[in-house]
């Protein structure tokens, strides 16, 4: 506490050397200026050094990604993938992979920091052939259709998945791996089909691969025809954050969005999974257009 406690000089007081010296030396209080010397509301924006002082939000990165033709006059088309495949990356107009590059020094995420990532991407899921999703498994169910018949119909789980990878090796951006909490969907779950437990889908977003219903549905029975609608162009978006654990510091040189499909839902041993539908992958298509990805590096404490 830094306070001046010397009383004022009053009539009748002696003026001697000690008294005069004390009135000056009381200002000599190193390491003592603190809250008691600062009035309420003393600090406002003009007092803070101008410019980005890298204190609360040290780093902000953003970029568009994909092929920016929003009317969809041209786009990239990807064929469905089977277990073991490396995921597709988001391609720009000339077919190069888009990455959110954090620069030569990367972003240093300390244990007291958070890295927040947001992205969106316009895509269109579609199929070759006639209702191929009713082959294989995972993406359809069979309902009674009256008269002893049955009808295979989408169960609503058919999808393409999108997730994040990062490069924490160096700024060559050639060592991308899945971000923490995210798997690559290639761990065999059932039969020979790879997938992730949902607990290992930390950065995953999905877009439906099928829009299908049925007419005249009653008491669990399909009495009318199956109705198939184009999924059409739509957008998928995602958000993810990272806080280093165990007191470690992580240097991140870049992040990127990757995707694969088709997937369906699976439950085994009480665990819910997103699993590849290898049997019909060759008929699945995903058209990829454009979007954006941004990252904000902030202090938590």
């Amino acid at each position: 506490m830094s306070r001046l406690t010397e009383p004022a000089i009053l009539d009748g007081d002696d003026i001697d050397a000690a008294s005069i010296n004390d009135r000056y030396t009381q200002f000599s209080q190193p390491g003592a200026l603190n809250a008691f010397n600062t009035r309420d509301g003393a600090f406002d924006l003009p007092h803070f050094k101008r410019g980005n002082d890298a204190w609360l939000a040290p780093d902000l990165y953003e970029t568009t990604m994909g092929w920016n033709l929003w009317k969809h006059s041209s786009y990239h088309t990807r064929i469905g993938q089977t277990t073991g495949a490396a995921p597709y990356t988001v391609l720009d107009s000339v077919g190069a992979t888009d990455v959110l590059d954090f620069g030569p020094l990367g972003v240093v995420v300390a244990p007291t920091d958070i890295l927040r990532v947001y992205w969106d991407l316009s895509v269109r899921a579609r199929w070759e052939g006639t209702r191929p999703w009713t082959g294989g498994a995972l993406t359809f169910t069979v309902l009674h259709s009256g008269g002893g018949g049955s009808s295979a119909i989408s169960n609503g789980y058919g999808c393409w998945a999108f997730w994040l990878e990062w490069d924490i090796t160096d700024n060559t951006l050639s060592n991308f791996v899945e971000v923490p909490g995210q798997g690559d969907f290639n761990t065999v779950v059932t039969g020979s089909r790879g997938g992730n437990a949902l607990t290992n889908c930390g950065s995953t977003s999905i877009t439906p691969a099928i829009i299908e219903g049925a007419d005249i549905v009653e008491d669990g029975r399909v009495n009318g025809s199956v109705l198939v609608y184009e999924t059409g162009w739509s957008s998928v978006d995602g958000a993810w954050h990272y806080i280093p654990t165990g007191g470690t510091t992580t240097t991140v040189y870049g992040v990127r969005v990757v995707y694969s499909g088709p997937f369906g839902a699976h439950n085994g041993g009480g665990v819910n999974y997103l699993v590849r539908n290898d049997a019909v992958a060759d008929d699945a298509r995903l058209d990829q257009q454009a979007g954006q990805i941004s990252a904000l590096h902030m202090r938590l404490g």
């Binding site: 050397a17 929003w70 947001y118």
Partner: protein, 246 residues
Amino acid sequence: MSYTPPYTVADGTVLTSAQLEGNSQALRIYLHRGVASSDFENTPWIQTRHVQAPVYEPYSGMQHGVTGYQGGNWAGGTNIRLQFATKFLSGNGRTTSTEFHPAPQTAIELAFRQDAKVLFHYWWELENGRDVSTASYQAPASPAGTTAGRRVYVVPYTGAGFNSGTAYNNRSRCQETRNAGDGVTIGYPIGTRRPYVMTGGYGAKQGTFARDVTGPLVTTFGLSIHSLTDRCGVVNWGIALEAYYF
């Protein structure tokens, strides 16, 4: 270093006015520009009460303080603010049109006092169509099932001064939803034949727009729409912004 009086008075010596004034002058200099970091208590001591309290602007839903802006606005609250998107404001559904129009009330204007890192968040939930009008300059409406080309696009809008000096619809950040594949019937029983979620006409989207802002700057953030359908109901929407001065 902390203040040290240049002259120390000793008993029995003459004290001159210059010596006294010298000490006072040194003290003035110290208080004006001589306080060093070593003079401050070496533990965090600035309390929240020492910092100017942020100002809350209730209509825009924004809070502005020394760290920047935080807050947002949404379709709910005491007044439901359902919005519509229609092709009649953006080219009548012509496939050649590239017109966008701002979605009413979905924008906020902010005054950045200095350089800031800005993260604009937005989301919306819409039911698009169903539009099966037959003008030939539009995306096909027949045969049935081919209306997916009639889309509604929503993009983040940024005001003047933010992008090369002009207001800008950030078309590279389009997010779209297709026309409903089936719709409302006028035959008995009148009503929705199938829900939007079942026929592709339902869109729940969210996006962000991040940018370093050079201040001071007064600008706007909001949503703009390009519609290829005659009627699209934006049943819910929200915008929020976080901006950091340092």
